[in-house]
Symmetry: D2
Subunit: 312 residues, 4 copies
């Protein structure tokens, strides 16, 4: 259970079978950093090209195709005092022909991040929001493993391998389960957001560089078709597709599989439970593939007497 400290000196704008920057053992922890979506680091310097540059990939020695890689986010925290967002709601999120005006020329707005106070505020004078402090809710917008078939997939989009899901629920304390397609799994991460609404409808959260600590564990005898996650309050499955309807299909099918095949619920109970207690979160409706998250509260599982195997 070693702890590795890794300082990145190059980045990738695809998730693919890139040379690993570090190979760890299952159960090891990595402390590293990520740049923001435009390639700016902790010091505010642009150190790589824009487009969600990823730190990594990190290989796990034991991981083989068909395994599951568990990624526990031990710590996610911005590491500088300035973030930025876009200023307009994306046209495809509004009714066709509706133009969202902004009374500014600027494509980007700056936000002040108070790392000690744990708050974020819009640094845009002459607006009602200016200076109002909001609690930080740091999350990772983009992470995942190398995809199948030798693909290298843009960090603008997402799929069964993870990728640019831009889901505000991927926070510290959550463990994500990803399918392993290549030896070593090759985990990439980046695109930290200080805060973000559902859907990432302006095309960004508050984009900022992060310090990240995570733990990688290989599960040899489990299988997932889409990303799953275990959080303190719920279990989650993730469907990445367009339209959102297809994301619903992937995420719900994966959750039904989890409840029935993996957690042993009978068919009637699994479907009755989902029918009456399922929750959906919209990850993003901005990226080429949208992200829909299917959730079951752990309280519900507890009441039914379903126990989760160790997730991390």
């Amino acid at each position: 259970m070693a702890v590795h400290r890794f300082h990145p000196d190059h980045y990738h704008i695809t998730l693919g079978t890139h040379a690993p920057v570090l190979t760890v053992a299952s159960g090891d922890t990595v402390e590293t950093s990520t740049v923001d979506a435009r390639g700016y680091d902790q010091t505010g310097a642009q150190v790589t090209e824009r487009g969600n540059p990823m730190t990594g990939p990190f290989a796990v020695a034991e991981a083989e195709p068909g395994d599951v890689l568990a990624v526990r986010f031990d710590r996610l925290w911005p590491n500088r005092s300035r973030g930025w967002t876009r200023t307009r709601i994306a046209p495809h999120v509004l009714d066709p022909g509706c133009v969202a005006d902004v009374d500014t020329e600027a494509e980007l707005a700056e936000w002040h991040v108070d790392l000690e106070g744990g708050t974020v505020s819009l640094a845009q004078p002459h607006t009602r929001l200016a200076g109002i402090r909001w609690p930080l809710c740091p999350m990772l917008g983009c992470f995942g493993v190398a995809p199948d078939r030798g693909q290298a997939i843009s960090t603008a989009t997402s799929g069964p391998h993870g990728g640019n899901m831009d889901y505000r629920g991927f926070v510290q304390g959550v463990t994500v389960l990803l399918p392993v397609f290549v030896p070593g799994a090759l985990f990439h991460l980046g695109d930290g957001h200080a805060i973000q609404g559902d859907g990432e409808i302006v095309g960004t959260g508050v984009e900022i560089s992060f310090d990240v600590t995570f733990t990688l564990t290989v599960h040899k005898n489990r299988r997932v078709a889409w990303p799953r996650a275990v959080g303190p309050d719920c279990i989650m499955t993730v469907g990445n597709a367009r339209p959102l309807d297809q994301g619903v299909q992937h995420a719900t099918t994966e959750m039904l599989q989890w409840l029935q095949a993996d957690l042993g619920l009978d068919a009637v109970s699994a479907q009755a439970l989902l029918g009456q207690f399922v929750e959906y979160d919209v990850g993003n409706v901005f990226d080429p593939a949208y992200t829909m998250v299917c959730k079951v509260p752990r309280q519900v599982l507890d009441r039914v007497g379903v126990s989760l195997p160790d997730a991390g």
Copy 2:
């Protein structure tokens, strides 16, 4: 501010320009009852045909096309001890070709509702869920006004006029704002659910007859294009369409309009606020039109210093 007690003796399976059963004044309260989605009443007798039969319509004397009708749900509570659900997740909610098996012949499952204890439990022996008690969360699946153009629209679906939105957030204490298309507005209601998950993915909540008390108020100088709602914790806009993506567009456009044009936020603040604090709920992904709900927490509005006009 009269209180009217109305006992229905006929029902409608469209929302349309039907003869009103009662005409009230703006601000009046109505106490009435609804049958379940298959037309069964409080006594368990089928009193009308199936297909979401509606109680009403109720006319409001002051309502004219172009006004807004506010409907405050003062009390929503089941009035019998047996509800039912379907037993399978709808095929269009799962991956194409995925068949959700059930180990029962029954299309419907019965649930026991404890009106005094305020709980509901699956009455299906030999299943893990059998007998587990869950808190009641009563909601109305279908309500709305007569649509425009003289249309009569099936209570299976929904639109700008409301209808079969099957959103679990339409609970007691919420005030819904609907566009008025015809003189009197003509408010219909029905399809009560003792509980329901997001999406209504088995095609039902726990379907049951209800006692309902609601208050109807006409706002002469407001305009809404899609249903809006004010709850204790958030404000909501509703988009009814397929695919879900189009529901996102309608609901987000309506919310942007609310924040900017009606509540007076500047364009940068309105979009920054939505970008970083918006929440989406999936109403239903079962009916012909899906329902997507766009929400802003009232805490967020409070912090920005935006005050809501009286909603009810």
Copy 3:
């Protein structure tokens, strides 16, 4: 086989259970006229409100719910010399945020129709298209029967009952088969186009009033779930829904049913035939419900030795 001449004096902007203007016998022919989408008649006078006003409905004495109504379009021809189109491609047909500029203030463009020469030409000076003559291809944009459940559905949209399908293939010589939901079937028609492209992407064809002759025949022992049609070159099934993907599903399912259950092809042949010879036409991608048409060439059926029962 009587021929009825009917001169309309009122119109409907919903398809619904309206009082029939005429009741005919199965096999009878009706000669009548339709106004344009804005309610202007042959003389250029506005005689009713805009929004696809329909002539009819026409009842057929023999028609009962569960039957099929065959409508043969014997003659479709404009009856005046001026038509009009909108001037912009609808924003939802272009990439979000793409604005289709026009170098005119006018929302509508006028077209000259030469009824004798059988041509149509854009009457918009200072444009490249001005004065170029194109052959007339007259078609009906909107027609159908009263829908089920007592609904009255706007003539802006479509469904299993037909409606505003805006499909350029509904021309003279085609026989359309519609499900019957109410006694008499109640056939409505209107919204003639002198020409129209696939998809009706500017929101109109060349809109114009029409003279129409059609023949109504009831088939007591057939069933259709969606409109079908028999043309000189192909058979067609129609799916009306959003997104287009769902239109594909409805139309393809209906065609598979036709080939297998109704025309007696074995399952392997029906699917192999569709897989390798099916054709799809985009009816409209403008209206609330889109229209997708699934076609099989009659040459293909002939080669397989499948004979069509008399369609009309």
Copy 4:
């Protein structure tokens, strides 16, 4: 204008920045062969893994990012006498829950291809289609250039770079225009179909190995955002996305750009022309990204006096 004869000895199942197998000059012609979608060659031997293996890539010396690569298909012809199809319509092409039965255990059906007679016939005894001969319409299902951002994209799907579009209109005599993202362009090709219906709804055409001759020409001063094509009868633009609606948007926007910015039509004429004369073809509704083709007949362009620059 050299002619190169290339015999492949390895294949790729992604379109990516792979080492070119041959570098040619702009204007050169290549004669080569492709294996079928499962990796079987002319002799019926499996020579590589399944999943649409591609021949190539071929580099063009002059091609730089930002240019356009014109690919003229000079000859497309199967080179063996056996092809195969799947036997079921894909479940996502039919109504959810509709199961397309087949009265065979076989997942694949064999077709006989008569190369001399130019016909194809289903070799499945005891079916109505068995032995009926149909004219060959050879087309390429998958081809394209290396995508942007260093991506390697599965040959199961498609995008702005081309890929698995499975469009029956990509036949001999057509010239396709592709955006160039990497030096040399890197053209890949494969997945030949002896015939195929619109939509590729059984998931295959008649899959077979091909002999292919094509000519690659670089256009330094043109730009395309999506694949365009020039055929003998029409010009075409291609949108690859889900849902089909988004494919419509991409293809229509690209065609509007072509007519207005590249061919010089005024805005009113371009939109009036598309509104009344556009045609859409469904490429595929089977693959992860669907393909929609927007077409304008060359007759229409001729009548307007628009001349195409040399396409090849």
